[in-house]
Symmetry: C2
Subunit: 124 residues, 2 copies
Amino acid sequence: MTSGLTVGEAAAKVGLSAHTLRWYEQEGLVAPVNRDGAGRRRYDSGDLNWLVLLTRLRTTGMSVRDMRRYAELARRGPHTVAERRRLFEEHKARVLERIADLQRDLEAINVKIEIYRQMEQEQQ
Amino acid sequence: MTSGLTVGEAAAKVGLSAHTLRWYEQEGLVAPVNRDGAGRRRYDSGDLNWLVLLTRLRTTGMSVRDMRRYAELARRGPHTVAERRRLFEEHKARVLERIADLQRDLEAINVKIEIYRQMEQEQQ
DNA sequence: GCTTGACTTCGAGTGCACTCGAAGGGGAAG
DNA sequence: CTTCCCCTTCGAGTGCACTCGAAGTCAAGC
């Protein structure tokens, strides 16, 4: 009745490698995962949710350093909630800015595509 | 009556370092820039426009490898216009996907912020 | 004439986030 | 019993895009 996923299974589920999962733990991005009788990691749904959240932070450009800071706050308990919120709001601002930049640059790309389209017309 | 900007000036204008500008040229991202009598680079408005375009491609996540491919096409002349357009449209698709990903992940971040906000309320 | 900034080649260093492999060992499933 | 996955520590390697520094030269501006 051992419950929870092994490293390999958890890795497959969240789209990271087993190597990387252990590395995340070692780097303090993930709190020590519970072990089964044989000392093997067992990831429960809480661990998985945490990993999913981390991957979202990663793909939105948060550095490992900042993720570690966040993980440390979370481990320190509920009295760090306000600071965690601030951290997230700063990150949110960066993401919004990034989106705005992308949309602005996309405009230039669209203009280029239009120009090329016209040149293709004229070449015929 | 030498016209055009020096490396340092051009670098300042486009937000890259002089080192990087020379490196871009060496890597084939930029066609050889015209020189003045003393052999120094002189960037004209065409060069600057090109550099600005490159920085947009960079900030939208295009790799140096792809920028080089694009630069080579541009150097090869007008008969590569269709291919350049395809390259841009593929890039555009990637950028749109990236924006969508960011917006999706931003939702999760917003949810987190809301949760933290409520926890802060309850702590009082 | 000195300072400043330009030129060249070249290789090495940086920062990030993995990513891999070695070496040696343990337990569970077919 | 063999295979497979897990465990550990450790250091080295990878890929990207710069980034820096050395070493030596040259020319324009003050």
